[in-house]
């Protein structure tokens, strides 16, 4: 590996200062970053080890929200009683990331901020993600690429936890040189039409430090309904081309506020099919105020893929996405 200095900041502000100074990269669990350094995709002179900062590895409940430190590992998240009990979609998403080894090291913030796994990008092709002006997947090997929201880059967002966090109306706390800012999960991810070189709004000297989940009485999207833990149902379903390690070929995160058998409010977010977690508001609207019958779920599956623009080799994702939305909704509706 190229040489670099490993820095152990004691505070977030110290970490941000190190990043602002110049050619530095931030490491949470480190798995993704070290691979990219070895492959010469990034060449930092300073590697900022966030795990030296105390207090970013806690799940805390405070007024109106649950705060998850950016360094909480995926393994911890998958087994955390509060997350499993109240935010099943997030625990389930964390539990299907990679492998046990990756989940032990990998952090929530790192999973959300990981770079795409497009084979052109990872193999050093001069594509948009590597600072070039081309997306090789357009006329190349595109079976795992985007069917929604593509152009000019057609990568898919690889994170499992990102669609879950968008479905839960999470807020992200970002620390930078001028202080902290809060961003809605849905606004954190940036489509390639904005900047094809990046996947989110973080600048080079900013760090995602915290994720905040609203607690039920304060769930903005679900007001004015009174939502309690027994009436929120959520789940994550991931389809892979093999049983482990890899990223979603297509996935869906669903959160439903139920009143008896009736869905009062819904969030449906697709993963693995677009450069950002892909919300489907039309599907959410058609579920609201209805019982989730198998017929409605089938219609929702079809509606979820309306407007899909598959590339030459990924048309299968359209049928697959419709099927997992239908199946996951049916299971959740009858749970």
């Amino acid at each position: 590996m190229k040489t670099f200095t490993s820095a152990n900041p004691k505070s977030v502000s110290e970490a941000v200062k190190l990043l602002a100074k110049g050619n530095a990269a931030v490491a949470g669990g480190g798995s993704d970053l070290l691979g990219m350094v070895k492959d010469h995709l990034v060449s930092p002179d300073v590697l900022v080890n966030l795990r030296s900062i105390q207090g970013l590895d806690q799940v805390k409940e405070q007024a109106n929200e649950v705060v998850i430190g950016g360094l909480v590992t995926l393994a911890e998240l998958a087994e955390h009683p509060l997350i499993r009990g109240r935010y099943a979609v997030l625990a389930e998403a964390a539990s299907v990331v990679g492998t046990p080894q990756i989940r032990n090291a990998g952090t929530l913030a790192g999973n959300v901020c990981q770079r795409p796994w497009c084979w052109y990008f990872r193999n050093g092709f001069p594509c948009y993600k590597n600072g070039g002006k081309t997306c090789f997947s357009v006329i190349g090997e595109n079976e795992f690429h985007a069917i929604f929201g593509g152009g000019p880059s057609y990568i898919v967002h690889p994170s499992d936890t990102a669609p879950a966090l968008v479905a839960l109306d999470a807020k992200f706390k970002i620390a930078g040189p001028s202080g902290e800012r809060m961003v809605e999960a849905a606004d954190f991810f940036a489509p390639p039409s904005k900047d094809p070189g990046r996947e989110n709004v973080l600048t080079h000297d900013e760090v995602l430090t915290e994720v905040r989940l609203p607690t039920y009485p304060h769930w903005t999207f679900m007001t004015p309904y009174s939502v309690t833990s027994s009436t929120l149902r959520s789940t994550y379903h991931k389809e892979l081309d093999r049983e482990s390690w890899t990223h979603a070929v297509a996935s869906v995160a669903i959160a439903l506020a139920m009143e008896g058998p009736t869905c009062k409010k819904a969030r449906v977010v697709l993963g693995g099919v677009a450069p950002i977690p892909w919300r489907v508001p039309k599907v959410e609207a058609m579920l609201e105020g209805k019982r989730i019958t198998p017929e409605l779920a089938a219609q929702a599956g079809q509606a979820a893929v309306e407007g899909a623009k598959p590339l030459a080799k990924n048309k299968y994702k359209v049928a697959l996405t419709a099927a997992i939305v239908k199946r996951t909704l049916t299971d959740l509706g009858s749970a």
Binding site: M1, K2, T3, F4, T5, S6, G30, S31, L34, G35, K38, D39, L47, N49, R51, A75, G98, T99, P100, Q101, I102, N104, A105, E243, S244, W245
Partner: protein, 203 residues
């Protein structure tokens, strides 16, 4: 035919495994014995515990944990396969949990406790997992075996009596190019006592 082939390979592998465990009784003496640290490269001094022994070592910041183990501490039981956190050959325990040692910097291990395959046997006696791996012909070519052992160890530390599905799920981070997965699963079940309990139930 399949059985015969596996038997021949296993017969070659078993003494190697036993040889390895005999060797590990001797703790590594010279801390840095591999390619020397380049003083012009950013480096740090760390303290960590490896297989029960405390080490104070100077490491280049860019060294991965597996480089430290293999190239500098002579703990070559841990293997490098892909060097990208994909194959699992480099799996070790860090503070009791499985980790890809190719995907962790050595310098991040300051203050941590690392267990490698050399640390499984105690007082010259193999770990029940190692015994079961031999008994159930776990290794074919053997390259992934130390990683498989460490993933199995991490699993049993958390869940001493896993069922078959839990073993499969717990071992998903380790690839075996000989595709000897079923033997590994049997071995882990045997070591955990689940296989015996299964057999008793069926009897």
């Amino acid at each position: 035919m399949e059985g015969t082939g596996a038997g021949i390979v296993a017969a070659k592998v078993v003494p190697a495994l036993k040889g390895q465990t005999a060797k590990q009784a001797k703790a590594p003496e010279a801390p840095l014995a591999g390619p020397a640290l380049d003083p012009s490269v950013p480096h740090s001094t760390i303290k960590l515990t490896i297989n029960g022994q405390e080490h104070r070592v100077e490491v280049e910041d860019r060294w991965t944990l597996v480089e430290l183990l293999r190239d500098h501490l002579k703990l070559t039981g841990t293997k490098i396969g892909c060097d990208r956190g994909e194959c699992g050959a480099c799996t070790v325990l860090v503070n009791g949990e499985s980790a890809y040692s190719c995907s962790q910097l050595a310098v991040w291990m300051d203050g941590k406790t690392v267990t490698t395959v050399e640390g499984l046997a105690r007082n010259g006696k193999l770990d029940p997992l190692q015994e079961a791996f031999i008994e159930h012909d776990g290794p074919q070519c053997g390259y992934c075996t130390s990683g498989q052992l460490m993933s199995a160890k991490a699993l049993l530390l958390k869940n001493p009596h896993p069922n078959r599905d839990e073993v499969r799920a717990g071992m998903t981070g380790n690839i075996c190019r000989c595709s000897n997965y079923n033997h590994y699963v049997e071995a882990v079940l045997a070591a955990s006592g689940t296989l015996a309990a299964d057999a008793r139930r069926r009897a």
